[in-house]
Symmetry: C2
Subunit: 258 residues, 2 copies
DNA sequence: CGTGAACTTGATATGCCTCAATACGAGTGG
DNA sequence: CCACTCGTATTGAGGCATATCAAGTTCACG
């Protein structure tokens, strides 16, 4: 699966294919870690495709409290727009050096109009996005701190690696504790305590600040209240990578300081 | 806007239109309030369109704690599927007597393939869904109980009426307090206390259990941390009604006991 | 008139936040 | 090489918001 030979779907699709690679080339961008690409309310008429890197979409209350509403990884997409206007509903920040393609809405619609496979892939990607958002809302509303953190670790590990959830394997997660707190709806202090407890209990281990090694997958899944196998199928879109393999060479996700 | 003369978009669209009305007729369903249409994990290969009524999509933790992840009203749609499998990611329950159209995925994809206007409308609807989900996640993660309740009232009032947020006008909300709690991530007891406080402060009034009358819109918007005008544009899809006006006569939303 | 579900209100428990102080690690400049 | 500094992580103490438990009331419905 990691040795996928050639881009499919778009580049090799029947009509409009030539257009695509030009579009992608024309819009391809790269940003260093920590860049804030857009603020809430900024004008935005594009749909974002992440070629490589991590991106966080967040919203804030008046007092500055921030909630990360989604994290987008290699092969993922984000539509920051809201219903009526051309205003972005979220703030967009890159957590790592990131290559991405902001595709104007009209171009995106045109691509969809010519490629049935793309429409189908989009449906799958959309379902994956919604499914993981649902899981997170459930935990934001009803889960304990342990449950939220454990779930976040599982989700990010699952999504960031083809290998899935495995014991004794280090997954880099390019979030510091305040950011992880904003993702889980917790204060950074409580994130620290909760991570610490998981570590003391021998369930996970951290190296280099935020490389996660799972030692007791059963226990972690129990706390996160997930079935590792099933969750993967629900929140990771099988079709997604094909959505725009065309967009560029597949670089591995790279961690970076924020 | 309420006196829209004729269905547009699909029924009158160029090709495939005849197919649509047949599809809709064939799949149209009606259920009484309180019906549970699907459970988490049930097989589901359809996309749901709500013609009239209210529907709640929820998920639960092992201990039975439930979180309502979205509420769908007249003119709204819901795709319960998850990425990989044909399993529903959510439980679906009707809050009122509801007319809806569960359209098999393949039919839905085919419709999308023939109607550019439909694709565009879907983009708008999708953005509205995401925008309101983002708003709710922000409040689930970082908002106080007052903020969550006030926001929920504003969102549901905005979405359930063309009139938007107005003072001295009764909005029926067909949720009891336990359900509102599941929606806001609060216990029913605390929902009660919080609503009571809003009432004592003269900000809202309740009649018939759950008909909401706003008395101080400014204060409510302040607590909810919203701009009523702007929010409407963000979370209500202008195009959505056209998505499937074809599906049936437009009945007003009717409240019912759960 | 009885029954059950929802609502209300009070009392208590607790999980998480906030404030505060310290430790650590990386980068910087002397 | 060391001192400095700044951001992040860690740990403790205390407070507050919300959950939980419990009891009583109202209301819809049979």
């Amino acid at each position: 699966m990691s040795a996928k030979p050639l881009p499919r779907n778009i580049l090799n699709g029947p009509p409009g294919s030539a257009v695509l690679s030009e579009l992608v080339d024309a819009h391809r961008r790269e940003r260093p870690a920590g860049t804030i690409e857009k603020l809430e309310g900024d004008t935005c008429s594009e749909v974002y495709f992440v070629v490589s890197g991590w991106l966080a979409a967040s919203k804030s209350l008046a007092d500055g409290q921030r909630q990360v509403v989604d994290i987008v990884l290699n092969g993922g997409m984000l539509d920051p727009g809201s219903a009526g206007s051309d205003k972005s509903a979220v703030e967009i920040e890159f957590l790592t050096r990131t290559v991405f393609v902001p595709l104007p809405r009209e171009n995106w619609l045109r691509l969809l109009s010519v490629d049935p496979g793309l429409r189908r892939a989009l449906l799958g990607e959309r379902r994956a996005i919604m499914a993981r958002m649902f899981e997170r809302m459930l935990r934001l509303g009803k889960g304990s701190a342990e449950n939220r953190i454990a779930y976040a670790l599982c989700e990010l590990c699952l999504r960031s690696s083809d290998a899935g959830l495995r014991e004794r394997r280090a997954y880099p997660i390019p979030l510091n504790q305040p950011l992880l707190g904003d993702f889980c709806g917790l204060s950074s202090v409580h994130v620290c305590r909760t991570l610490r407890r998981l570590e003391i209990d021998g369930i996970v281990e951290r190296t280099n600040r935020m490389d996660i090694v799972i030692h007791k997958l059963d226990a972690l899944a129990e706390i996160a209240q997930i079935d590792p196998e099933a969750l993967r199928g629900q929140i990771v879109s099988a079709a997604a990578p094909e959505l725009f393999t065309a967009c560029g060479s597949r670089e591995p996700p790279r961690r970076a300081a924020s």
